[in-house]
Amino acid sequence: MLGRFIERHPFWSLVIIVVAAALIWAVFAPWPEGLEEAIGKKKVFLNALINGVTLGALYFFVASGFTLIFGLMRNVNLAHGSLYMLGGYIGYEISVSTGYWLLAFVVAFAVVAVLGVILQYVVFRRMQGDDLKQTLVTIGISIVLADIMLWIWGGDYYQILAPGWLDGPTTLPLVSALKSDGSPVYLKYPIVRLVILLAAIVVGVLMWLVLNRTKIGMLVRAGVDDREMLAASGVRIQRIFVLVFAFGAGLAGVAGVVGGTFQSMAPGEDIRFLLASLVVVIVGGMGSIPGAALGAVIIGLSEQFGSVYFPTYAVVLTFLIMVVVLAFRPQGLIASGR
């Protein structure tokens, strides 16, 4: 597949290779002084790069649940941001009351997944195929949920504290600068963010494998293509859809805990992450797990680099990327290959 891509797009392959090589050089080699003067310190660049990728990991957690539910099942769930925020608040309560950070993930996943199942039963099953109605009803649900959460938790900021073994920075084998005597200075980075990045990669690969290499993934894909035919051949399709919905919603809950640890929870985060997952999924391509990963990294990087190199319009940049992608490649960068 890679070879075919190079054969079909020799020019773009060359561009991608050159950009990748430049990126690798910029990451690993110490920068000459002229370059540092032109675009700033290498440490700033490296931090933006890794921040962007780890932020992309967080976006991937939110957006992969969204892309599963939307892309595979054609269910428009604009309450996804509310599920994210609910997960974050629940994670906060659990980690404060029990002191176990990992338990927060399990409980947030379970509670939000159950809520997702309820949503699927009560809302989506009744209006299958009616996009507009699903949109409106889930907007209504998200307004109601947002206000209930504001009622319970108020307008304060909540941050989930990472456990001691994940606290503090670690040293990466990346040279950020050279001292005056020529000895290299290595980059220090918060360990919890790296662990979350790793977790996102593992979850992403697992999801792709389950969808593409297992029987249940086969059933999900078949159900998406032709649900009547699959139901006629004796498969209990609703059960599969409930399962996928629960998993996608649960992922949003997990993302909430991750987001609460990374950043903080406050009213308004639900809309922010709903928009972020919309943009990620549209840029990457609906219903595609690799697409969500690519989109998440692109949006995470653009936000971080934007806020470092042209801070005023960093937020606008994200939406510009989306508009450009929609204008020139409406199906997303990686079209639904699932």
């Binding site: 409106l136 109601v144 504001l150 009622w151 319009y313 937020v315 508009v323």
Partner: protein, 349 residues
């Protein structure tokens, strides 16, 4: 209502065929300033007309074009900002202070251009994707005006943007402003009614129902959709100018994501089938917004739960009737009058 539809379908408006309800509502609206206080006139009715017009522009692209756009408030916002920037405001360093005959048409033109461009982008997508890209454009506009200090004055926006003193009338006065809003709302309403039955509107509804067949018949589907956005943008632009005059201020908060969704709520609660729907929705919304606090406090509930009340009400309406209050009303009328579901006319006994 039905008799009027057949009457004006011939392109001629016969006053005797306009149903009594229209005369009654029209007379009531004209006579309101005689009895109502300034607060009711401006804060309730003028606001209703303005929100109703923005929702009407959403109703036009959504109801007749089948494209639900969340960017209509952004279009109104562009017009409002342009009025403040090209006209006069308290921010003298930015506002250009052009005369009214120049800055008002320019504001409408720029907002229409913006809306048409948005439409040209949005028609590349369908269904839920349209909602998403228009939501993204509205959000991008909100962030842009919040961050841009050179032209849009960032977080603070503009204040003291006032209607001009024209033809010997001070349009800032509540009665004058009420009639101004009423006039434009009625004009927009009639324009939508007219366009919906003009060849363009009929073709647009054909495009909504079956784009492939319309394309096969030789209609340019994309052009009709973009034109629908352009027409709706003019309505939203006029409403945007009235919106900035109403409060005298325009700031990013007025074009944020929440208000943009509120416009959708207004249009849907009112009903997307008929142009009167958005105005009904706007009246309900403005009344709720203004009095929910008092009602909640009076009934001993927490006044902060206003948003919950709106959300639950909206949820109930969209859950049981996809056509808003109009849909409920029509269902009730069909029950009581036993109209023929095919022609919509009352059955002869």
């Amino acid at each position: 209502m039905e008799t009027m539809e057949t009457g004006s379908a011939r392109g001629r408006l016969d006053p005797t065929r306009i149903p009594a309800a229209y005369w009654a509502v029209g007379a009531a609206l004209i006579l309101i300033p005689a009895v109502a206080s300034d607060f009711v006139m401006v804060q309730i009715f003028a606001r209703t007309f303005i929100f109703g017009m923005i929702a009407l522009s959403l109703m036009f692209v959504g109801g007749y074009g089948g494209m639900v756009s969340l960017a209509q408030l952004a279009v109104a916002g562009v017009a409002a900002y342009m009025t403040a920037i090209l006209g006069a405001s308290a921010i003298g360093t930015i506002s250009l202070g052009w005369p009214w005959w120049l800055h008002i048409p320019a504001a409408i033109l720029i907002a229409t251009l913006f809306g048409t461009l948005t439409g040209a982008l949005a028609v590349r997508t369908a269904g839920i994707y349209t909602i998403m890209i228009t939501l993204a454009i509205a959000t991008a506009f909100f962030y842009f005006v919040r961050q841009n200090y050179v032209v849009f004055n960032g977080f603070q926006g503009f204040n003291q943007v006032l209607p001009p003193h024209l033809f010997g009338v001070d349009w800032r006065g509540s009665i004058a402003f009420y009639y101004l809003c009423l006039f434009w709302a009625a004009f927009a309403y009639l324009a939508v009614l007219y366009v919906a039955r003009a060849p363009f509107g009929l073709a647009l509804q054909g495009v909504r129902d079956n784009p492939r067949r319309m394309a096969a018949l030789g209609f340019n589907v994309t052009a009709h959709r973009v034109a629908a956005y352009a027409f709706a943008s003019v309505i939203a632009a006029v409403a945007g100018i009235l919106m900035v005059w109403l409060s005298g201020t325009i700031s990013p908060g007025a074009v944020a994501v929440g208000p943009a969704i509120d416009i959708l709520v207004i249009a849907v609660v009112g009903g997307l089938r008929h142009p009167i729907g958005p105005f009904i929705g706007a009246l309900i919304y403005v009344l709720l917004r203004t009095f929910a606090l008092d009602v909640l406090t009076a009934s001993g509930l927490d006044p902060h739960r206003f948003q919950l009340l709106i959300g639950l009400g909206f949820l109930a309406i969209v859950f049981w009737s996809s056509d808003g209050v109009l849909g409920l009303w029509e269902r009730w009328r069909h029950h009581s009058q036993r109209t023929d579901p095919l022609t919509g006319r009352t059955r002869e006994p």
